[in-house]
Amino acid sequence: MALETYKTEQNRLEKEEAKKAGIPEEPEDTLTIKEIINSKEQSSLLGDMIEHDGDDTDKELMSRLVSGKMEATDIDRLEKFRGKFSEKTRDAETIKEEMTPELAQEIARQNPEIQKIVKLVGPEGVVRAVQENIMKIAVTDPEKFKKISKSVETMKSFREGDLKKLDDSVNEFCKKHGVNADEYMKVMAINKFEDRQKALSDLVKSQWSGQGGWGAMKKSLNWLSGDLFSTIRTTTLEGNKKREINDALETLDKHKKKLGSVLGASIKGNKDLLEALSREIVGTPKKKESVGMSDVKKVATDAEGIKKNWDIIKKKERPNCKSMTPADQDIFRNHFMKEQESYAKKKLAEQGGFWAAIFGALFDTMFAGFDKKSLN
């Protein structure tokens, strides 16, 4: 009892000292090394993180962690990863909670591929899969995790936050002013995809590019509300005044109609239309296409590739392989396979994007079923 009291008091004093020294307090749910090691899931994730972030010594430590052959000094080394690991898993837990069957259905409504997947495995199946992967992405691919987190936040805001308020106010505005997106909608009615894309792009460009475009509208607006207005106030020729005001009001009306069609389209339009309008009006640069399938395929190793690499490496590093003992051959083969796995994953990670994730999944499948005995 006295010992417990002492420990509690000691703990309190340490925290107080740390606070005085300006050391930030650790969140309550920070995991201890012991807790991480005792959990199969957590230790595997920590292993993934060390594989990604650590140096060679750390990777050896990871092998001992995975095989359960930890040494006393390893705990100290693991300490250096603990805070970062806890922080990443905490962030991942927050995003994990946002991955709901409702979100899966929301995405499926807009995306035919997700629609098909939902039909196959159900929205819950989709959620299970993404929840299982999000933890790994959080500890091994911070950039990708950041993008996912941002996307989740945007979806949430569009469902219940500021973006919803904005969309609602535009909806209300369009109703009040009776605006619509007639011209754009007519183009959207063209059936053939290529023709529709071309017509859409031409229409948006003709309306918003160059001299009659967005910049010109803003300039004209400044002139109408500034310079022209002051001229009208000072001039005494009533007839001219009236004509100028009528002309200005007519111009404003044209601007209104043009802008109204943009606002109407922002509610009714599809993604291609929004992309085209956004590029011309807001000046959003066209999003860089992610690395295509054929490029990723070039770096994705298949079973044949592994066999070819084996012949090259064996000839170069162990020309006397056949005279080695079976045990040594096995060690060499295992080392080669580990190198192949790590190299393939590194190359795919460098490519990033959808196809790298797909080829990564297929590489793992091929690798797991690869017959090492075929390497002789």
Partner: protein, 100 residues
């Protein structure tokens, strides 16, 4: 055919589709044969499709919001100018009516 053999032939078939260079056909192949892949691969494939769709959807929403904000702000300026000029026009008409 063992599970490994089935997976091997599935991967070979997929490679043939990839070699045609048709990305949509490759995506369709993966989804159509999703259930034939080992469970761990299924999980990764579903995640890849989902995160890609999620990012595209969020990107569209952000573009839409930026466009709406910009257009609404300009529309508000038009309304202001409209009202200023409208008042001025009314004044002239009033004066005309009064014969001033």
């Amino acid at each position: 055919m063992s599970t490994t053999d089935a997976t091997k032939s599935l991967l070979e078939e997929f490679t043939k589709v990839v070699e045609t260079g048709n990305e949509q056909a490759a995506k369709d192949f993966i989804i159509d044969h999703l259930k034939e892949f080992p469970e761990s691969a299924q999980t990764k494939i579903i995640s890849a499709f989902f995160f890609d769709a999620l990012e595209k959807e969020a990107d569209g929403i952000e573009k839409r919001a930026a466009l709406q904000k910009e257009a609404l702000a300009v529309f508000a300026d038009i309304e202001k100018a409209d009202s200023k000029l409208g008042d001025e026009k009314k004044k002239i008409e009033l004066k005309e009516g009064l014969g001033i």
